[in-house]
Amino acid sequence: MTKKAILVLEDSMVFEGQTFGAETTTYGEVVFDTAMAGYQEMLTDPSFAGQIVTPTYPLIGNYGINDYDVESKRVQVRGFAVREHCLVPSHYTSRKTLHQYLLENGVSGIAGIDTRSLVRHIRYLGVMMGILTSELTLEEAKKELKSLPPYGKVDYVREVSTGSVYEWDGKAPGIGVNITVLDGGVKYNILRILRRLGCTVNVTPCNSLANEILKLNPDGIVLSPGPGDPALLDYMKDTARGLIGKKPVMGICLGHQILGHAFGASTFKLKFGHRGGNHPVRDLTTGRVHITTQNHGYAVDADTVKNGLEVSQINLNDGTVEGLRHRDLPVLSIQYHPEAAPGPQDNTYLFDRFVEMAKSQK
């Protein structure tokens, strides 16, 4: 019989289940993700830093853990809450079980809970902090929870960003287009795709200054996705300001929010965020609808978009801003994840578009 674990929420809601992965105590903002596959990509997505993630799909770990579906150098979620985790996975690429993977990475999981009820709770009351433990008593856990810094006050970007500049997969020949990625928690698939398109790809730390980046003489700059509240990231905003106009800039997710800030727009926190692989986005220019992968808790406030910046895409479900363009500057900005991983691959064309932009501005 596996050890008992509890997940306690800010409002004292308690979910009781069994531990899996590491048997420790962990805490974070509790969020849900509706993607039905791709848990390994989820676990390694830096945007989940500081969060306890619960997939809405109940059967997790079915195809095990493989060598390919990694999106960053480690497991990034603070905790993983599932209905059921699979101990006998089945896939020809599978190397280990989800349990082993979390254990090796020292990340705690809780299984056997009514995740749907947890999701509904969050949907009604909004995301909130939670603590996941197999060590503390309920009372201890509640006390601990009160003493924790709220998610919104922590700069997780510094935790997940690279410490030094590196080039991604330098071996293969290129098309001579130089892309520099400002790493606020980049997902490897962004780098893979850019490389596949033939670009030379450099990744720089989140706190790099504009002139440092320009020294690498990039033809285009990508402001990467990442965790947390963009309002905390003035240093990235300033860097962005220093780059916009000089080089084509592509903002993705957090990068998109930062780009918004750079133009003086403001962001706000969504009640329970957008996390999953089925969010419909309407392109206001073409009228077309795209199914997108999303993972964000904050959004750009449409009413504050100004200084030549325009809303180019919106979310069909709640009308929030999904894309920005500029009347005359070369910026391409989307709130969702064209790199997918996990999720629909329909939107990788945006990278082609950006690389074209970079080329033409050469």
């Binding site: 596959a37 059921e84 749907r116 009820s117 949907r123 609808v289 199914i291």
Partner: protein, 1099 residues
């Protein structure tokens, strides 16, 4: 481009294997959607047992044969500007192609909506399809199209065996098959060529053991594409998707696999240019364990990761499943797209907030298991392959795979078989090789049995090709079985067992308790199911849909409805003897409740149905229809109502066929209530012997008979009754039920077999009365009895009422006979205090010389809606189910504006003809007897008997053609009838072939006939040859009862079935068919069904 104003929708016709209720569901949803958009809908379907053919669904309804000519006339009359071909299954699609090819669509400029003609051809014509995919770089298995056996042989040399033959434009894999030898290949190719509309078949490399994955895709005119869900067939490639156990969503695919196929799906639907929905099937590389044995070469080039198997450019069985599995109404959306709407312009009725432009997220696991007819046809070939054999399916939803699986098994209603069931033969099986692990209807049980004997999931995966993930899940179930067997039953273990879907009765069996005791334990330990919502979005949005499934979890989302309400129990999977007509009744009952301001709650397990559509009832419980689930959900609905203390809602059991009736006892005994006829009175009619006494007391005669338990008794009784007699076990054992027995040898054989199988239950012997069979349905309120109409069978008694051609109104009955039937029915209705519907079947025996009164016997009374209710409701205009449901709510017939007695005879003739799926069921005898064999029905309606019959036979595919040769092989008993028959055929210019005896008789009256031997090993051509080579276009083959005699004609009848030519096994049907020949030239009307009713018909 402006949207159409008036749209013609083609239905799918009768229920046959491969085309079941799902198209009534799709068509009904589509017609509603058109109405929402203010588009006039004109519907044509030959199947009366459908909701879509009710007035009020479509704007104009035609119940006419689905032929090019007929539809051309409808188009000429209605002048629609659009045609929706994608809702009537393969039938609708093929008709659309015919209509267009024959220039009719152009002539009346009718636009094909949704799917352009070229797209249909590209998707259906296997060769075009292959080219199109190759052009867009999608991988297809090595294959080639062949038009002859020679070409096939040649190809076999190139690609190598095994190969699979796949005809174009067919359904359920008809005429196709997997071939391991050249002989198999030749046989299959020839049958495939004759099945294929375009006379070509695809011969393709066989990807046995590969995963079979399906995607449901939707595209709109702006080229916006979404996928609704994907599905994983647990049975790998080689077993038809319709015969596979299927799980939604896929379980063993990484996101990369998932997206690879999703991206391919979108590329394909774009290349095809479909505006609407389609279903795409893939073969995906198997797990190494499986590959090792089944596809050793899958990894090395030129093999691709996956192959595209086929696209169905229309709504399908799979799209119905996908709709019910996700809550996303595919047919509704497809219809709106077809008339020009964009995905984002269509609202998502389930959430009420979002639009149709999104991809559903599910937070549960869905299982579908096919329902095969082998309980009826125990002697048929039970192996399954690339040709579909299932008549229906069940679906179950839960939060664990194990539970969804076990619930689905509970929903199947195959005897009382749980997953624990094992074939007696398996008990002493030594090695795994002896287990029947090849694909067949009971393979799942065989796999479980093998696991119980300690074989590993891996071993079983290697043998079956089923992915290890699934066999490991099966093992979880077996391990819980073991724990239940040896560990003491603790709360934790019971909780776990319930979360794995173990029913109380299975737990009872294993833990040595009575099911009721397990239930009690659950109560004491507060282990009761909660109900979760199917909301399309995994709870991301607040949804308004009332669609629920049970689960052993924490939070209950289905609070009891605090209003007056009633539960309608559905009829479960479609099977022979219990088809779509009961779903029709359940739906109407739910609507009637709504009309009477009573909340309707629906319980059903069949995803193909209208009754399980999200807006049919006020609340839907998608659950197995067994006493545990029904009682659980009734208790979940318990609540205080003004005046009434804590009560559960009453149940309506009359509309769900035998399934619902069989639940009555446990519902009542567990303290819940039913409305309508009382359990006591239902029981009287259900228990044949009880009913005998009851009828006797009312002075209502039944065929004389007795129950016997020994051979001597049997012989004595039979002698006193006089042969022929009709025998049946009082307790039906798989396959061998009713038989007509003509002499002592036959009787001895039957009785000894029956006693051998089960000596506890007696065998019932009745005098076989070779008379006219009639049937009626009645609505009673306990006081008045309304009989909308009487039906007369064309076949004499002895052919099951469900297989007989029945005619409304009865045309050949004397006033006395009618009065007697009405009188008996009134007596029965009152004496039984029937509240609601009842169905009575009679056989009438006339005195030999027409002197004196004929004798009317009651064969049986069914205390419920019967198969004929939709038919009778439509031809008489009496809304029987609505009346019955309101009677149950204590609104008398009078208060509903109806009086008792026989309803006025309509100025029309309606004829219901059975439709069979025999070509699919190899090894099954098509001979008609007292056991039902048909899967569906059609209706022909007109102002004259002749015209109606022409239509009925046309729609049923039983038309003969003047001038085309027929084969007669007729039993001695019928030889006298053979003579006039032969003369008529001759008069119609049909050359005659006949077997030995029959030929002699025909010659004796000087009618030219060609003798053809039925002795297959003595010279050729013999009977089989002339059927196979197409020399004859029809067969009449009657035999004098008894299995021995049946052997004779068996191969003749099978040959006819395979060749898909009419084969009459009752002299009466044959006579009718020839009469029709004479009239086939004559004009029949084509008009909306309502007009036949309203106009005072000209005759």
């Amino acid at each position: 481009m402006t949207g159409p104003k008036k749209v013609l929708v083609i239905g799918s016709g009768p229920i046959v294997i491969g085309q079941a209720a799902e198209f009534d569901y799709a068509g009904t949803q589509a017609c509603r959607a058109l109405r929402e958009e203010g588009v006039t809908s004109v519907l044509v379907n030959s199947n009366p047992a459908t909701i879509m053919t009710d007035e009020g669904i479509a704007d104009v309804v035609y119940i006419e044969p689905l032929t090019c000519e007929v539809i051309a006339r409808i188009i000429e009359r209605e002048r629609p500007d659009g045609l929706l071909p994608t809702l009537g299954g393969q039938t609708g699609l093929n008709l659309a192609v015919e209509l267009s090819d024959s220039g009719i669509l152009n002539k009346y400029d009718v636009r094909l909506l949704g799917t352009p003609l070229q797209t249909i051809k590209n998707a259906e014509e296997r060769s075009l399809f292959k080219k199109l995919l190759t052009d867009i770089g999608e991988p297809v298995p090595p294959s080639d199209t062949v038009h002859s056996i020679e070409e096939a042989r040649h190809l076999a040399r190139q690609i190598g065996l095994p190969l699979i033959v796949r005809p174009s434009f067919t359904l359920g894999g008809s005429g196709g098959g997997i071939c391991h030898t050249i002989e198999e290949l030749e046989r299959t190719v020839s049958s495939g060529l004759s099945a294929s509309m375009s006379h070509e078949v695809l011969v393709e490399k066989c990807l046995l053991g590969w995963k079979e994955i399906e995607y449901e895709v939707i595209r709109d005119a702006d080229d916006n594409c979404i996928t609704i869900c994907n599905m994983e067939n647990i049975d790998p490639m080689g077993v038809h998707t319709g015969d596979s156990i299927v799980v939604v969503p896929t379980q063993t695919l990484t996101d990369k696999d998932y997206q690879m196929l999703r991206t391919a799906s979108i590329r394909i639907i774009r290349a095809l240019g479909i505006e609407g929905g389609c279903n795409i099937q893939y073969g995906l590389n198997p797990h190494p364990l499986v590959a090792e044995r089944w596809a050793p070469d899958w990894k090395n080039p030129p093999h691709s990761q996956y192959y595209v198997i086929e696209v169905n450019p229309r709504v399908s069985r799979s799209s119905a499943l996908a709709s019910k599995a996700t809550g996303y109404p595919i047919a509704r959306v497809a219809a709106k797209i077809a008339i020009g709407k964009r995905l984002w312009e269509i609202s998502n009725k389930v959430t009420g907030k979002t639009t149709a432009a999104f991809e559903p997220a599910v937070d549960y696991c869905v299982l579908k298991i096919p329902r095969w007819p082998f309980d009826k046809f125990a002697f048929g070939d039970r192996t399954i392959g690339s040709q579909m054999k299932a008549t229906g399916e069940v679906m179950a939803i839960d939060r664990t795979f194990e539970s969804a699986l076990q619930k689905a098994v509970r929903s199947l209603e195959i005897g009382k078989k749980s997953l624990l069931w094992e074939d007696a033969g398996w008990a002493n099986v030594k090695s795994l090789d002896e287990f029947p692990l090849h694909p067949h209807d009971m393979r799942l049980w065989a796999v479980m049995a093998a696991l119980r004997r300690g074989n590993t999931p891996e071993e079983l995966s290697v043998r079956t090709g089923i992915d290890p993930w699934f066999t490991c899940k099966f093992l979880n179930i077996v391990q819980m079985e073991r724990r239940l067997l040896k560990e003491p039953l603790s709360r934790d273990m019971l909780w776990e067992a319930k979360r794995l879907g173990f029913s109380d009765s299975v737990i009872g069996t294993l833990a040595d308790r009575l099911p009721e005791q397990v239930r009690e334990l659950r109560k004491t330990w507060r282990i009761i199911p909660v109900y979760k919502m199917v909301d399309t979005c995994a709870a991301e949005f607040d949804a308004a849909t009332p669609y629920f499934y049970s689960s052993y979890e924490e939070e209950n989302e289905a609070r009891a409805i605090p209003e007056k309400k009633a539960l309608v129990i559905g009829s479960g999977p479609i099977r022979i003897g219990q088809g779509i007509e009961f779903d029709y009744c359940s739906v109407h009952s739910a609507w009637a409740l709504r009309e009477a301001n009573v909340r309707s709650i629906m319980a059903n397990s069949n995803p193909e149905t209208v009754s399980t559509d999200f807006d049919t009832s006020d609340r839907l419980y998608f659950e197995p229809l067994d006493d545990e689930s029904i009682r659980d959900l009734l208790e979940n609905e318990a609540c205080e109502l003004p005046g009434v203390p804590n009560t559960t809602p009453p149940s309506i059991v009359q509309f769900g066929g035998q399934t619902a009736i069989n639940l009555t006892e446990s519902i009542v005994n567990s303290g819940h209530s039913i409305i309508g006829s009382s359990f006591e009175n239902i029981d009287i009619t259900e228990d044949r012997r009880r009913f005998e006494d009851f009828a006797a007391r009312l002075g209502i005669p039944q065929p004389p008979g007795a129950a016997v338990t020994s051979m001597d008794e049997a012989l004595k009784v039979a002698r006193s009754l006089g042969y022929p007699v009709l025998v049946r076990p009082s307790y039906v054992l798989g396959g061998r039920a009713m038989e007509i027995v003509h002499n002592e040898t036959e009787l001895t054989r039957y009785i000894s077999l029956a006693l051998e199988m089960d000596s506890r239950h007696p065998v019932l012997i009745d005098k076989y009365i070779e008379g006219i069979e009639t049937e009626l349905d009645a609505v009673c309120d306990g006081e008045n009895v309304l009989i909308p109409g009487i039906m007369e069978h064309i076949e004499r008694a002895g052919v099951h009422s469900g297989d007989a051609i029945s005619v409304y109104p009865a045309l050949h009955l004397t006033a006395y006979e009618v009065e007697t039937m009405v009188d008996y029915t009134l007596k029965l209705g009152q004496a039984l205090q029937t509240r609601g519907l009842m169905n009575v079947q009679f056989v009438i025996m006339r005195t030999r010389y027409g002197t004196g009164h004929s004798q009317v016997y009651v064969l049986e009374v069914n205390p419920r809606a019967s198969r004929t209710v939709p038919f009778i409701s439509k031809v008489t205009g009496v809304p029987m189910v609505k009346l019955a449901t309101k009677v149950m709510l204590d609104i008398s017939l009078k208060d509903q504006g109806y009086h008792g007695g026989l309803w006025k005879r309509q100025k029309l003739v309606g004829i219901k003809a059975p439709v069979f799926s025999m070509s699919k069921l190899t090894g099954v005898d098509t001979y008609l007897g007292p056991e039902m064999k048909s899967t569906g029905e059609v209706m022909g309606v007109d102002h004259t008997f002749e015209a109606a019959l022409v239509k009925a036979l046309m729609a049923a595919g039983l038309m003969l053609q003047p001038g085309l040769p027929v084969l007669l092989s007729i039993a001695d008993r019928d030889k006298t009838d053979a003579i006039p028959l032969a003369t008529r055929f001759d008069a119609m210019g049909c050359p005659l072939y006949a077997t030995e005896g029959t030929a002699a008789v025909i010659e004796s009256v000087g009618v030219p006939v060609r003798l053809i031997t039925k002795k297959l090993n003595e010279g050729s051509p013999n009977v089989i040859d002339i059927i196979n080579d197409g020399s004859v276009q029809g067969v009449v083959n009657t035999v004098t009862g008894g299995r021995t005699a049946l052997k004779d004609g068996f191969h003749i009848r099978r040959a006819a079935a395979e060749k898909r030519i009419p084969c009459f096994t009752s002299i009466d049907t044959a006579r009718a068919a020839v009469d029709v020949l004479a009239n086939s030239g004559q004009m029949y009307n084509i008009k909306p069904v309502g007009e036949y009713l309203r106009t005072t018909g000209k005759t």
